[in-house]
Symmetry: C7
Subunit: 75 residues, 7 copies
Amino acid sequence: MQGERPFDLLNKAIGQKVMIRLKNGDEIRGKVSSFDAHMNMVIDDAEEVGDDGGSKAKLGTILLRGGNILFVSPV
Amino acid sequence: MQGERPFDLLNKAIGQKVMIRLKNGDEIRGKVSSFDAHMNMVIDDAEEVGDDGGSKAKLGTILLRGGNILFVSPV
Amino acid sequence: MQGERPFDLLNKAIGQKVMIRLKNGDEIRGKVSSFDAHMNMVIDDAEEVGDDGGSKAKLGTILLRGGNILFVSPV
Amino acid sequence: MQGERPFDLLNKAIGQKVMIRLKNGDEIRGKVSSFDAHMNMVIDDAEEVGDDGGSKAKLGTILLRGGNILFVSPV
Amino acid sequence: MQGERPFDLLNKAIGQKVMIRLKNGDEIRGKVSSFDAHMNMVIDDAEEVGDDGGSKAKLGTILLRGGNILFVSPV
Amino acid sequence: MQGERPFDLLNKAIGQKVMIRLKNGDEIRGKVSSFDAHMNMVIDDAEEVGDDGGSKAKLGTILLRGGNILFVSPV
Amino acid sequence: MQGERPFDLLNKAIGQKVMIRLKNGDEIRGKVSSFDAHMNMVIDDAEEVGDDGGSKAKLGTILLRGGNILFVSPV
């Protein structure tokens, strides 16, 4: 539709840390390893973020299904 | 179907501020950077809007999945 | 399937006022500017309608995702 | 799959009164004006039906998104 | 995948009585008149079944959207 | 993607007893008669399983829509 | 989109133990036997994980529908 496309943000985020807000309200932080056209993402050093912004649980490397994502934000 | 199409509104909104109402009732304000055919959008200077209309949280740049959107409105 | 098709109603509604009932129970009133095959619609002078039938909030021009719509009715 | 197909019921219902049960439990009564392959329907003289079976609200002509329908029944 | 296919059950059920459990927990009983590849079904002499297994409401002939079905069982 | 594929489990389960956990939390036990690519399954001698693991209701033969399934397990 | 793709994680996980978080909040642990493009997975020695991280129920081998998955993590 125009020069820049939304997924360019994910491309630039490879190897970088992002915060992911899920549809169920939970937040996951970690480093983007890869993604595909469904927004499925592999996140390294993933951790669930508690309500106070601190780490609630270490998840290690995860494959996250894109359909659960509300938004992704580089941090 | 007719001359004007709904996504023309997004095209004209590039670089402009919009308010986005999500299906879960939350509102996000920010500047449209890009969008695609699924209404996925990159929003710059994004912030969550509280019930009083004020900023609740600064989100920075986000990639928002289009499927979560109720409506988008230029502000 | 037959001469008349459901989307003809939207075509005739361009420039006219409609009431839109959403799946979440909310109602939006405004003037149809454009629509597409997914029932995405641009509505001008949109306003949320309160339980008493009066205007609850002015939304201006909005791009509404069709998947949120229960029904559309010319008023 | 066989001679008769489910949508034949809608074809025969054009110009006739039907009762439509929605997924959210609500009921709408009115006259079928047109329909398409997604079960989107234009209903004339539509009215919402209350729990007592009486008319709760006159809706006039509506374009109903098929995805909200539980079942349609000629009355 | 193999000789017998699940929809063969519906084919054999044409003209026969079935019980249909819906996703919302409700049950409908009646005679299968026709069906299509989306499991949309026309049911004759349909009736809603109450918690005690008795008839709660006569629905007559209905066109049921397949997406609402949990399972269908010949009775 | 690799030699073995998930649906091979269903193929081997034809004529065998399985336990099916549904998305709504309910469990159904019975013998697999057939299945298709949507995981629609015909189950013979189906019974709903109560919280104590015992039979809650005999369902006979059912056609179960695949979209309602959480997982299937040979027993 | 780039060299590495998210499903490579599943490929490397064949024969390995993973933790699967479901959309409904439940967790399942077990060994990946196979998967397909919908993220349907056959898991051997599957067990449901209780809130305390211990085993709540042995499930044996299961075919899990991919649409129920929130994320998969090698353990």
